[in-house]
Amino acid sequence: MDRSEILNLMNTVMTKRGRPTLTDEAQGTREAGFRSLDFSETALRIETRIGRELSFDAASMRRIETVRDVLDFFEDATRAA
């Protein structure tokens, strides 16, 4: 999936939570209010979109600090076989 699609799904979750949408990739996820559960919900929405499950450990989620990290993470995860 490309970054814009992933960002759209992230913002779907943010909108659902009543939070401002994400526009700055450099922004910290904590500062942006993008929480771990939002990450999980984004992952589920991506799974639905691509038709397969994503599997990753909690440690890799803990290394994520910025919106860019999230986009990189899902870009890699959806590229992998």
Partner: protein, 243 residues
């Protein structure tokens, strides 16, 4: 009744406690889906009475793709998956040293892997829809020692432990995860006990009686109602035997 107009999955609803829970939840105006390895006449009866509000399919609880497909089918038919009652289980009446490996694996498969797969599939729908309820039918054996029930007890302790961790994982998403832990109750599982064993249990129970399916239903009904703010708890329905 506390739970109504919900879409509910009850595992192992073809007989015993699962059948009672399924029937009572249907009576209360819920849509109920259930699965079990084998079909029973009761499934035809419920389909005839409740039509599209009831869905049964034969399914092995450890068939991961089958369980995921079942949950997706329920979400599609009923429009949501509001609650899951992890009821399906098999009992044990053997000392561990005399339990063969097939029996051991069978109990772990049905009592541990099965509810984990169902819960995993259901919470994915619940997170996307914005909430739900998971209720594990656990047992007092999960927190008290009873000879002859080691693997069964371990499986029920697992359910309680998983429930607490999961409550932390998904509570923020509006998903409430709890266990209802019956004591010995009048069931096919307790039918293996001798009359004198049942009398001893009753004598040691402060209420003086075993719980029955309806007692357990009343608590499950409350737990999955979404009205209690109860999260990560084990509710004992045992007449006070564990107090």
């Amino acid at each position: 009744m506390h739970t109504t107009n919900q879409s509910i999955i009850v595992s192992g609803g073809s007989r015993g406690l699962g059948l009672h829970l399924t029937e009572r939840l249907l009576e209360a105006g819920n849509k109920v889906a259930t699965f079990a390895r084998s079909h029973t006449e009761a499934m035809d009866r419920l389909a005839g009475t409740y039509g599209d509000a009831f869905y049964f399919t034969p399914l092995d609880a450890v068939d991961a793709p089958g369980v995921a497909a079942f949950v997706a089918e329920v979400a599609d038919r009923f429009g949501a998956v509001d609650s899951v009652v992890n009821n399906a289980a098999i009992g044990q009446d053997q000392l561990l040293m005399h339990t063969d490996l097939d029996t051991l694996r069978g109990i772990v498969d049905v009592n541990v892997i099965g509810p984990t797969l169902l819960t995993r599939a259901a919470i994915k729908h619940m997170i996307l829809q914005g909430g739900g309820n998971i209720c594990n039918i656990s047992s007092i054996c999960g927190s008290r020692g009873y000879a002859g029930l080691s693997i069964y007890a371990g499986s029920k302790g697992y359910l309680d432990a998983m429930m607490r961790a999961l409550a932390r994982e998904v509570g923020e998403a509006g998903i409430f995860v709890n266990s209802v832990a019956p004591g010995f109750f009048e069931s096919e599982m307790s039918s293996v006990l001798l009359p004198e064993q049942l009398n001893t249990i009753k004598r040691r129970t402060p209420s003086g009686s075993l719980s029955n399916d309806e007692n357990i239903f009343k608590v499950v009904d409350l737990v999955i109602s979404g009205t209690t703010n109860m999260q990560g708890q084990v509710v004992f329905v045992d007449g006070g035997i564990t107090t």
